[in-house]
């Protein structure tokens, strides 16, 4: 026995979790892969047939798919740096000594945007950015800005809401990282230099990197999956201005009912997400 638990006990503990994961995660994934290899349209079930990689070829050669992908990465490239910059600023402010009560209240209030359902954020956006009655135009001195009906403004609006909702998450993760910095190391650094940048770069940043990597992976995956908020706010419009990849997959799969093609798109999206996650870990995490 060597003082260890038996193989059967280990399996007894881990087995249910693995089984559960297989049922809710792996089985649907395998089904999606199976579907992606077939012509599988919900309104044409009499014609379901194996077509090999044809759906994948259609996706990979479809300009609309890559436009949606490009739009999604543009959103990621604009919203994520803003979230990290603002989140870091908030984390550094909350890491300052003193004002305990205010900081506690600030931390609590940071949870609110994250706790708001995506679809509710979209509906809030519809009301607040309404051209005529919306509070945003009122705050801008009664401006007559067409937010939802203009492609550029609609995209900016999506960025705003994404930053609003997820900057607090970044702030809280980075704040947790800052609390990991040993007090004596930080104190010694402060005695050495008055430069906050030097302290941040050489003392705090190494402790922030694991959290930052997690933020990059989670926010990238979240952005690639972003659906509810955009669907309720702009439904991908005007035109295709805010049709991100998840909206496109939903459109193909549930409005055009082509489950085979939508599954192929989803599998490709999954592969891209996994590759990005590996890149993030390789580039950032190894520096810790």
């Amino acid at each position: 026995m060597r003082g260890q638990v038996s193989r059967r006990t280990t399996l007894g503990f881990i087995g249910p979790a693995v089984f559960g994961l297989a049922i809710v995660g792996i089985a649907p994934l395998l089904y999606a892969v199976w579907t992606s290899l077939h012509f599988f349209n919900l309104t044409k079930l009499a014609r379901v047939e194996f077509i090999g990689l044809e759906n994948y070829w259609t996706v990979l050669t479809d300009g609309v798919f890559w436009q949606a992908m490009g739009r999604t990465f543009f959103l990621l490239a604009t919203a994520l740096p803003l979230q990290i910059a603002l989140g870091l600023g908030i984390a550094l402010l909350l890491h300052q000594p003193g004002l305990t009560l205010v900081k506690t209240l600030a931390r609590l209030s940071l949870v609110l945007p994250m706790a708001t359902t995506y679809a509710v954020v979209g509906l809030l956006g519809q009301v607040m950015f309404n051209q005529k009655f919306g509070v945003v135009n009122q705050l801008l001195g009664g401006a007559n800005i067409n937010w939802i009906g203009d492609p550029t403004n609609a995209f900016a609006m999506i960025i705003f809401w994404d930053v609003w909702q997820w900057t607090p998450f970044v702030a809280l993760v980075l704040l947790a990282g800052l609390t990991m910095v040993p007090g004596e190391v930080e104190e010694a650094a402060r005695l050495e230099t008055n430069s906050w940048w030097t302290i941040l770069r050489h003392v705090q940043l190494p402790f922030l990197l694991p959290g930052l990597t997690a933020v990059l992976i989670l926010r990238t995956a979240d952005t690639l999956k972003l659906f509810d908020m955009v669907f309720t706010l702009t439904r991908g419009g005007p035109g295709a201005a805010t049709e991100f990849i998840s909206l496109m997959i939903q459109r193909v799969g549930f409005r055009g009912f082509d489950q085979g093609l939508a599954s192929a798109q989803a599998v490709i999206l999954l592969i891209i997400t996994i590759i990005l996650a590996r890149i993030y870990i390789r580039v950032f995490y190894k520096e810790v």
Binding site: Q131, K132, G239
Partner: protein
């Protein structure tokens, strides 16, 4: 004596209104429903006035028949997906709510039961006063019929109508609404677009609204259409292009961001007095004439949609109810009884009074009703001239409408020209139709 007569009249009227009247052959709803007492029927309803009207009338049906109607409410945009998933999975729905553009798909998949089969299988539950000929032929043909077979009875019925603010028009020197689309643009447009107010709003949001209410609305009156006789794209034709270019020109007299306007925004802009004219479904009548929801209720007048060079060709939309094939025997019978009752001649007046729009011709002969509902003359006129294939009704429409929605919006935003947009839609539309087998004779050219 007078009181006795009055009571008798009231009793007869009530019996007629509830559909509980015994026929000469002794048929009655209660008797027909007797074997199906206690059956629950599941149906999808939309969040629209016509559905609220029937819902308000429902307790009478349930009391009389003992059949329970379980209503599952969805916004329009979710209704197709929910039903398709339910039918594919062999779910609970016993009645299909069918938008006219879904009927090809529902019928070809065998999800709905033809009316003749119901007649054959359940002769005892057919109301002798069903009178199919009383439905406007256009509505029965477009909403309930596919490839010559009747599946559904027209239930929630729309025609595009012009709602106009007579006060705004009068202030601008007009006695009535424009007769033609060109007149609307060239004469009414400049006169009514000023001081933050607009002459017209055409709901054009990127969903079915873009395809049905905006895109299709402009191509047909100008002589265009989606498809030619060979099912090839007809969007590059002179008529289609004229209509699409007209829409681009007309946008100068519409509010900014019209591509973000759905029905709610358009009706609201009109009801708030910001827009002088809209072309909307008849179903929105109750919203614009009620002082509770409209600041211009007293000024609202209704006319048929303007004519184009090819005639009036108003927008056509609507829903039928059909018995679902997946229902069991008792549910099928109970479902039919409900459908028959909800669309009956006997209930049509109450349905209209409560805010619905019936497809029964007979109800519109009621002078009292015509006086209280100003939309009736325009509606009756519109249903004489509608085009059943205003939007193609085949199973491929859900794919094609997505293409039209995307490129139609891009045209309006000026991201592509009407020619380039029409070419793109045409190419993609033909790809869908080719894959479906329309060009190699596998499928008949039915739309």
């Amino acid at each position: 004596m007078t009181l006795k007569k009055l009571l008798c009249s009231a009793a007869i009227a009530t019996a007629l209104a509830t559909g509980a009247h015994a026929q000469s052959d002794g048929w009655s709803l209660a008797k027909a429903a007797e074997p199906y007492k206690g059956t629950t029927v599941d149906v999808v309803f939309l969040l629209r006035p016509g559905y609220e009207a029937i819902e308000a009338m429902l307790p009478e049906f349930e009391k009389e028949t003992g059949i329970k109607i379980n209503i599952i409410k969805h916004p329009y945009e979710n209704a197709l997906g929910e039903q398709v998933r339910d039918f594919v999975a062999g779910g609970d729905l016993d009645i299909a709510l069918i938008d006219l553009v879904w009927i090809g798909s529902f019928a070809e998949n065998g999800w709905i039961v033809p009316v003749d089969k119901i007649r054959e299988q359940y002769p005892d539950i057919i109301d002798p006063d069903l009178d199919m000929a009383d439905f406007f032929p256009l509505t029965l043909d477009a909403f309930g019929t596919w490839d010559g077979t009747v599946y559904g009875l027209p239930f929630d019925n729309y025609s595009g109508l012009m709602f106009y603010n007579a006060c705004m028009l009068k202030d601008a020197g007009f006695d009535g609404p424009p007769e033609t689309w060109e007149e609307l643009k060239d004469t009414y447009g400049p006169a009514l677009t000023k001081d933050g107010k607009y002459a017209f709003a055409l709901q054009s949001k990127r969903n079915e609204t873009q395809s049905a209410d905006s895109f299709a609305r402009v191509i047909w009156p100008f002589g265009g259409s989606f498809l030619d006789d060979n099912f090839k794209s007809n969007l590059m034709s002179e008529g289609s292009q004229a209509g699409l270019k007209f829409r681009q020109d007309l946008m100068q007299y519409m509010p900014d961001g019209i591509v973000a306007y759905d029905h709610a925004e358009t009706v609201n802009a009109f009801a708030q007095g910001d827009v002088a004219m809209i072309t909307e479904w008849s179903a929105f009548y109750s919203s614009v004439v009620s002082p509770d929801t409209s600041a211009v209720a007293d000024c609202v007048e209704i006319a048929p949609e303007p004519k184009g060079p090819a005639g009036r060709k108003p927008a056509l939309g609507g829903f039928s109810l059909a018995v679902a094939e997946q229902a069991d025997e008792a549910e099928k019978a109970a479902a039919w009884l409900f459908i028959q009752w909800a669309t009956s001649k006997a209930n049509a007046k109450e349905y209209v009074e409560r805010g619905g729009v019936s497809a029964r011709q007979s109800v519109y002969n009621d002078e009292e009703l015509a006086k209280s509902k100003k939309f009736i003359p325009a509606l009756v006129e519109s249903w004489q001239e509608g085009v059943p294939e205003f939007r193609p009704r085949f199973a491929e429409w859900p794919e094609i409408t997505e293409i039209v929605q995307e490129w139609g919006t891009k045209m309006m935003l000026g991201e592509v020209s009407t020619e380039d947009g029409a070419k793109e839609i045409g190419t993609r539309m033909e790809e869908v139709l080719d894959a479906a087998g329309y060009y190699d004779g596998k499928k008949p050219l039915v739309q």
